[in-house]
């Protein structure tokens, strides 16, 4: 399981050779910068109604994407909604990984009761369609950005834990681990230095995918009116306006930009995830992709 040693190029160098993935990474960073820097630079106010422009104003030089039902600038709301959506997605993925990696290691390395109960817990969580569990929990604990991050993050660990668990099972009896154990390495040292580096590769590829899924879940929740609520915006809650058929058909500038933002971000994350997979696991290169 040490495929990188034999290859002189580092995983990062291999990632850089994948032009599509690099472009997507660049675009995603650009998007993050725009979303966080543009509102203060352009002096955009997401929560101020422009009464002169009126309600549902079409795009104009003053309001590039028009205004919403109470006269708020839609570009400002799109960017600030982007901050919320992106932060929720990325931090939920980080929480899932921070939880899934140690739990997967524990289950795979200690085995026995740890293995049985942790994997049964994963079975239990995975028996629920995730959106249903998220919907119930968020509705019960109250819809706020923090609660959504926590619920998505805490429920997302199972996939990552299973990946780490499966790899740990194969690594734990490899000769180098047995050798280190025979040399008297403590369990913590062994897990950190010998097992962990050899099992995390698939986790790196699944983090962008998890972030993408979290963004999709958050936007579905907000679209259904159970997630981010006004005056705060997220991409999903902006699209909610299109539940009204007049908005849907005659004011496409209100809901198409946030939809495109979601699609763009999620696809970028998916391509980055694929790129990381290819970079970290040279064996997968054999399949034409």
């Amino acid at each position: 399981m040490t495929p990188f040693r034999s290859n002189p190029r580092s995983p990062w160098a291999r990632f850089c050779r994948n032009r599509r993935a690099v472009v997507c990474l660049f675009l995603l960073c650009l998007e993050l910068l725009l979303v966080f820097l543009l509102p203060p630079l352009m002096g955009l106010e997401p929560n101020v109604s422009d009464l002169e422009a009126g309600f549902w104003a079409p795009p104009s030089p003053a309001h590039w994407l028009g205004t919403d039902d109470v006269g708020r600038d839609l570009l400002a709301r799109l960017l600030c909604g982007g901050q919320v959506s992106l932060l929720i997605g990325l931090s939920a993925a980080a929480i899932s990984a921070a939880l899934g990696v140690p739990l997967g290691l524990l289950a795979g390395y200690r085995r026995g009761a740890w293995e049985f109960w942790l994997m049964r817990l994963a079975d239990i969580v995975q028996s629920f369609p995730s959106i249903i569990l998220v919907l119930c929990l968020v509705a019960l604990v109250g819809p706020s950005a923090l609660n959504i991050v926590l619920v998505l993050g805490l429920l997302g660990w199972t996939g990552i834990a299973r990946l780490v668990y499966g790899n740990t099972l194969t690594v734990r009896d490899q000769e180098y681990v047995v050798a280190a154990r025979a040399l008297g390495a403590s369990r913590g040292f062994l897990l950190r230095r010998n097992v962990l580096p050899n099992v995390v590769a698939p986790v790196w590829c699944s983090i962008p995918l998890r972030a993408g899924r979290a963004i999709l879940s958050e936007s579905s929740l907000s679209f259904l009116g159970v997630g981010i609520r006004t005056p705060q915006a997220s991409w999903g809650s902006l699209i909610q306006a299109a539940a009204d058929l007049t908005v849907l058909t005659s004011r496409p500038w209100a809901w198409i930009p946030p939809s495109l933002c979601i699609i763009f971000t999620v696809l970028c994350l998916a391509v980055i995830g694929d790129g990381l997979r290819d970079a970290l696991d040279p064996r997968s290169r054999r399949l034409p992709d």
Binding site: R120, P129, I132, L135, C136, L216, S219, P252, I263
Partner: protein, 318 residues
């Protein structure tokens, strides 16, 4: 085989109790009880206590869990607060439409994904391969509700071909054509959102089995490419493809909550959604538990079918 079945059943038991316990705790530990809603206005402490006692909410948690579980085994999921009718009867009414929607969506997706996946594996970098990767990106990246909105905007409002809402035009069943017209858009969305993953898995499973020795043998026998592809490579990849289809069921069910809600489809998803917004706890518990147990049962059956169908699975797991 007996040992295999037994070991699968034994692992399913803690999962079953875990599912029920999770649903129970989730709903019962949530802040705010039904008395806050029902007793709004005229409630004094005595009324609240009486209401809680009449709903059995004054009993300790373990006792309530045991009572709920005992009811579950008898098919009694309690009384809905909002509809004031048995939860089980409400669910039974909604199961049919839900199965119809997800079933037709998934059937469409399978019918389209299998040939496309095989073609994409057969001819890498062809139009089919490109179409396959485009579809898998589409269904991963485009949220279901955007697909719904796009479908409504295009086919229902602009072109006026299809209805935007509901299951029947007249409120009840009038003709099969009417039902089908209402079914097309939601089932199309369900199909599109599960299509990509299926195509991707079919393609990679076929590629995987193309590298096996038995393909070489089949080629050496002089079979045509098509015969090798369909009768050997595709058959060899049926098990992973079946796994993908069935492991996708929770996703599809989850996605159909959104689809049902948008299209006003009278299924379990929209029932759950309205139950959540009305804080109808017995109904929320009932629907969630039925869905999760359905998934558990599907997985269990799947394991058993594998054990019967593929001897390697059986020996591998023991």
């Amino acid at each position: 085989m007996g040992r295999y079945i037994r070991s699968r059943l034994i692992t399913a038991i803690p999962v079953f109790f875990g599912i029920t316990l999770l649903v129970f705790l989730m709903v019962n530990l949530a802040p705010g009880t039904i008395t806050d809603l029902m007793g709004e206005g005229a409630a004094n402490e005595a009324d609240r206590a009486a209401l809680e006692a009449s709903l059995g909410l004054d009993q300790p948690l373990p006792l309530r869990y045991a009572g709920w579980l005992a009811g579950l085994f008898q098919g009694d999921l309690g009384q809905s607060y909002f509809y004031n009718r048995p939860v089980s009867r409400l669910i039974v009414q909604r199961v049919g439409p839900s199965l119809l929607l997800t079933g037709s969506g998934v059937a469409l997706a399978v019918a389209a994904a299998l040939p496309l996946g095989v073609l994409a594996a057969w001819k890498p970098r062809s139009v089919w391969d490109r179409l396959a990767s485009f579809l898998s990106l589409l269904s991963f990246g485009v949220p279901g509700f955007v697909l719904c909105l796009g479908g409504i905007a295009l086919f229902a409002v602009t072109l006026g071909w299809l209805p935007t809402h509901g299951m029947y035009a007249a409120g009840t069943f009038t003709s099969l054509g009417d039902l089908l017209r209402h079914l097309v858009l939601p089932a199309g969305v369900v199909c599109l959102s599960s299509l990509g993953e299926l195509v991707k898995q079919t393609r990679s499973a076929c590629l995987e089995s193309l590298g096996q020795d038995y393909i070489l043998t089949a080629r050496a026998k002089g079979l045509t490419d098509g015969a090798v592809m369909v009768r050997h490579a595709f058959r060899g990849s049926l098990v992973p493809v079946l796994t993908t289809i069935l492991s996708h069921i929770p996703h599809i069910l989850g996605g159909s909550v959104v689809v049902e809600q948008i299209f006003g489809w009278p299924g379990m998803g929209s029932l759950l959604f309205s139950a959540i917004s009305q804080r109808d706890y017995p109904l929320v518990m009932g629907v969630t538990v039925v869905v999760a147990l359905g998934v558990l049962l599907t997985n269990l059956l799947l394991d058993l079918v594998y054990g019967l169908a593929d001897p390697r699975v059986r020996y591998g797991k023991e």
